[in-house]
Symmetry: C2
Subunit: 776 residues, 2 copies
Amino acid sequence: MKKIANILILSILVSSCSTNKENTVEADFNAANKINLLPFVNPFIGTKNMGHTFPGATSPFGMVQLSPETNQQPMFIDGKYNPDTYKYCAGYQYDDSTIYGFSHTHFSGTGHSDLGDFLVMPTTGSLNLEPGDAAIPQSGYHSQYSHENEFAEPGYYKVDLDDYKIKAELTTSNRVGFHQYTFPKSKDSHIILDLISNIYNYDGKNVWTFIRVENDSLVTGYRQTKGWARTKKVFFAMEFSKPFKSYGHKKYDDVKYNGFYRRFNEEENFPEMAGKNIRAYFNFNTEENEQIKIKFALSNTSTAGALKNLEAEIPHWDFNKTKEETQQKWNNELNKIVVETETIAQKETFYTALYHTMLGPIIYEDVDGSYRGLDQNIHLSNEFTNYTVFSLWDTYRALHPLFNIIQPARNNDMVKSMLAHHDQSVHKMLPVWSHYANENWCMVGYHSVTVIADAIAKGTTDVDIDQALKASENTATLTYFDGIGEYMKLGYVPEDKSAASVSKTLEYAFDDWCIAQIAKKAGNEEVYDRYINRSKNYKNVYDEKIGYMRPKLANGEWRKEFDPIDTHGQGFIEGNALNYGLYVPQEIDNMIEMMGGKDKFSKHLDYIFNTEIEDKYIEKNEDITRDGIIGNYVQGNEPGHHMPYLYNWTNHPFKTQERVRMIMNTMYSNGEDGLCGNDDAGQMSAWYVFSALGFYPVTPASNEYAIGSPMINNAIINLENGKTISIKTVNQGKENVYVEKVDVNGNIIDGFSLKYDEIKNGGEITFHLTNQPRTN
Amino acid sequence: MKKIANILILSILVSSCSTNKENTVEADFNAANKINLLPFVNPFIGTKNMGHTFPGATSPFGMVQLSPETNQQPMFIDGKYNPDTYKYCAGYQYDDSTIYGFSHTHFSGTGHSDLGDFLVMPTTGSLNLEPGDAAIPQSGYHSQYSHENEFAEPGYYKVDLDDYKIKAELTTSNRVGFHQYTFPKSKDSHIILDLISNIYNYDGKNVWTFIRVENDSLVTGYRQTKGWARTKKVFFAMEFSKPFKSYGHKKYDDVKYNGFYRRFNEEENFPEMAGKNIRAYFNFNTEENEQIKIKFALSNTSTAGALKNLEAEIPHWDFNKTKEETQQKWNNELNKIVVETETIAQKETFYTALYHTMLGPIIYEDVDGSYRGLDQNIHLSNEFTNYTVFSLWDTYRALHPLFNIIQPARNNDMVKSMLAHHDQSVHKMLPVWSHYANENWCMVGYHSVTVIADAIAKGTTDVDIDQALKASENTATLTYFDGIGEYMKLGYVPEDKSAASVSKTLEYAFDDWCIAQIAKKAGNEEVYDRYINRSKNYKNVYDEKIGYMRPKLANGEWRKEFDPIDTHGQGFIEGNALNYGLYVPQEIDNMIEMMGGKDKFSKHLDYIFNTEIEDKYIEKNEDITRDGIIGNYVQGNEPGHHMPYLYNWTNHPFKTQERVRMIMNTMYSNGEDGLCGNDDAGQMSAWYVFSALGFYPVTPASNEYAIGSPMINNAIINLENGKTISIKTVNQGKENVYVEKVDVNGNIIDGFSLKYDEIKNGGEITFHLTNQPRTN
């Protein structure tokens, strides 16, 4: 009862948001009345196997994500792709026993990667600039470490670097990484700044790097890389708490021409270093337990911008102050959903999932609002805060819908960031998968439109609807993009013109439905009709004869070779006809009808969940691993995330309830291996957060959530408008996974659909649970 | 008489300068009252042999210098330096018969090179993106041309590209190149944009290139190169007068990883191109005589900056309008000195020299004052116009002193640009040889201080003197730069620590004298004394026993191996003890005394001029060629430029008069081979302009010019302050090279020194010439 009482106090004390630009999204609850939720976040969840999360320090949606790298896998070995690359999407693998240093940019949970900018490593003893082999202790500057001496919580990470007897501590503000290294006594203490180190590194990835030693304790510079982001530039300003006694660098380039720089000994104490592949070092004498601190600011515009960020965000050397401020921000964010659960493990799983929904998209602008646009020019975000890292094929499903409940102000800024991206795009296209002022074109669909439509449907954005509609239409009619031209002509993407044609057709059709929703709000009937028509294109890839979605050729014939179970090359991407083939969230009833009716469909779902898929069908997909599979269902990847909820549209909603509880219990945990696949920039975690609360946005941009079976005992969602949604369960228990009835604001609702309108201004939801399925 | 009358009218009609930022430096004479001096400029002078000038179009001090490239020499062949590189410092060689296209950035007359950004070439027929071999017609996109169908004047260049029957015409504004191509009828007309082409090109010079096809007639992009400038970025916006029907590019990179761009056919009609080595093309149908025009704007900040420059400077498609405006600017500049000469050839030589003094430094900022600083950040030049290309070892001698007479406003901006460079320098150093937001560290000395001191001495700058002094001191005490540390400790640069030690010691000593002059103006006696002391360091490298300046070792001993005639490795750079050893402009009398007195010194000069140097002594010096040599004197290079005037300090000033006339007559002409060595960013031409007018700034930063023997008949120098200096000769003639007397403002002067103070507010100088040397 004590805890519940606390929650109630909290819900009363929620204060309204300030209107300060950045603070709008950092609810200024009175910290004194907050429950300390940090202990329930375990940043190591997902760091083992393929979760691709990182344990390092960052602030909510912060630009700096400062985290250890535990290996240095080259992307290619002897010209061939090195499959171990994939393990290191976020730089860290829990099973490793070495640390190579701490770099400032990471993705959380992506299925392809980049970044790892600006690796900093403290060492002692004879200077070694080679990273070395992880398998051979002391073969390079890396250090051994053990998990006993490692600790992480939101905004803070600590580890002992055993090889050097150095304690490393990290925290961050939004744009500045704060390092605190406690050294032993040594005349040979070093800080290495490795500008070669990259995530998804290959020879040639570095385009240019540049370092200026401004004075004996301040260094600036930048790096341009050609990776997943083709023209990516990150600038930095690095300030030391203590002057270095000397410094230098080694250049690993084949230097054909060095102009008149050849007159200098550039390698030692020469303040301008530039080249493609550089490792710099800074030397110190240290006393026993002497701390050397580093403030490492990033900018995406310039070194001047990085300096501005440094000065504005951390104008002092008090590590704990920054840590406390950032942790308070985290606690404020976590307190947006206050839950009680049966077990601590569930609570840890929940809050870590919630934490993982706030590691992207990230703020992508200097403190003064300057940011690098997609056109590589510097823009000013007068009217919004600019964000980057849009993994939209993943995140449109549940992450952005979750933001519309707990982060509407940020989500509004994200929508505006997408529109700015469109305006700066030479294609006049909204983001597909974009990061760091680049479009990386990963995955299929044009799901920005879904995010925009969802924000408009939920009333959480103040963008100009006509402008949003225009940008969406531009995107949906870019004929040279990924089969859109053919799609517009034929009503489907033909497999012989554009692979993964069925996935594309299905995703486009749903996106088109979303555009129609925007058009409806804009009062533009003509556009509405056009896109509603397009939204029915899913029918064109359904082969009634075999009962599956199936790749069709440009001549109108079905492709002959077809295996509905294979996840590779069968018209689907990261899925197959069995699971991805059920993706028609805009017309679920019609789809079920088309596929033979509710009972047949329900059985099809049973078949998927109950029939084990053979290895050969998934082994070509990096993004699908055994961990995340139930039968033919893949929780570890997105195309099926709505599927457990589809039973709601059949006569067996209780199977949804069974499934979602089973998935929460078996596919998520509070261990390092607690994610069954890439967290996918928060989508996997958002699925969990929604499901744990008892509902899920099967159809973003609609007014409805599908009801599942809540895992929590009780929850308070603190909305930015000051209202709260209170969720209660009656008869919660391990066996009581079935929903007998749902009471929303005092009314028992019909069916298993929760309306957004009923909760947007707060409300009470009570789930009455039972161990008996409601089979009627 | 008619011409003289015109001149007089002009001198009366000179109007005062406006105060508009850019226009301050573009005297707004009433054009109607100007003599058309354009016909006397032959931009081809210096394009044959090693003048390293370019014939293309540019505006005075313009950022765009749009000129043909006649070859594509790689800088290295089989890993070895290709000596033909040097011929193409400015991209054009008169003896070539091919044109590869027209690029937008060039140096005029430098002895090392870079640039050649953004080569544009129109072609017809089957598209060929390979440059091809100059020796093999039609082996690539290059075209044959002949000088009969080529024409150049200030601000305009025209040539027929014979292989394609295309007439190419070029003009420019300050920041925008304007191309006008007249095509034949063809369904296969192309404009090639070659981003691989570079001057001083080597594999790896391109760091990154980026092109965006904004719409069917507008393209933007940038290139970053690692050349003489280590981190050089140039941005562009390229607008076509007619939409292209299709476009594409070829990438010449070894692409290991192309992210998800692999999903596109990037090569054709895909609007984003990026990579290290790219050639793009744009296709057109053309009718007979159809003109396709291109406006090609540069920026050093961004593509947005380039677009701004494009729109601000040439908002129309009227090629002739831009040509006329730019030519009027040229005529205004050329009218700053209106001369009459005995022959047309002399006049052409004179005006082309004057033209060549206005091709650098160049404006280096966008129309809104944004520019890229040395720190690679974007700065705003609120209080001045920012310039780049400072070839200071050359230009401090006569070019900047000339500017102090005819371009004081620009020179003031140049001084401010130097101080901004200092402020942005991580070394806190003034420019040595800087271009495009980079210091390239070429040649010896810190001659910015001389330019600053000269401007202060002449009263033509409004910079803060204390700030100028501080910057000069910072520069002169940078211990790790080029032997300065040893120089400060020992009083000379020791050859065993820093090669070319005697040249450095002499140049530093003179620069130090200049700093002392600044200190004097600042009223800072302590600094004055310190630098006056340093200015006497020349004595420390004079070996009395042998009567030569000589390399000394750190231990105080003279280096044993020493050949005073060899120009390579004897303590001098681009010179020897005979000529460069006479460089003590701050204490000429003392130097002569030290070297044995006036007669001995005069004989030494005779020896230098009269004794032929052997090939073996000069062949290792790219910068010294036979063309520019008289005995052991090298007019084709800078260290000796003051030498012909040194006779003035002996008992034989008439030998100065003989020599300078002889040099003007034999080392300069109006032919393509009219320069006897690199024009060195205008220094060679400034020598001519001064000498032709009858005086020369032997000691910049002093109040004096040494009198020589004027080549002109009469001259009017139109000062920016509205005053004029009228120079007249009496008895001018081929044989009458001797100066009998000089009348300044009505007084016959003693000796052969002209005081700046006597002419700065205008005045009249009359040279009385004779064929009899004044031997007393």
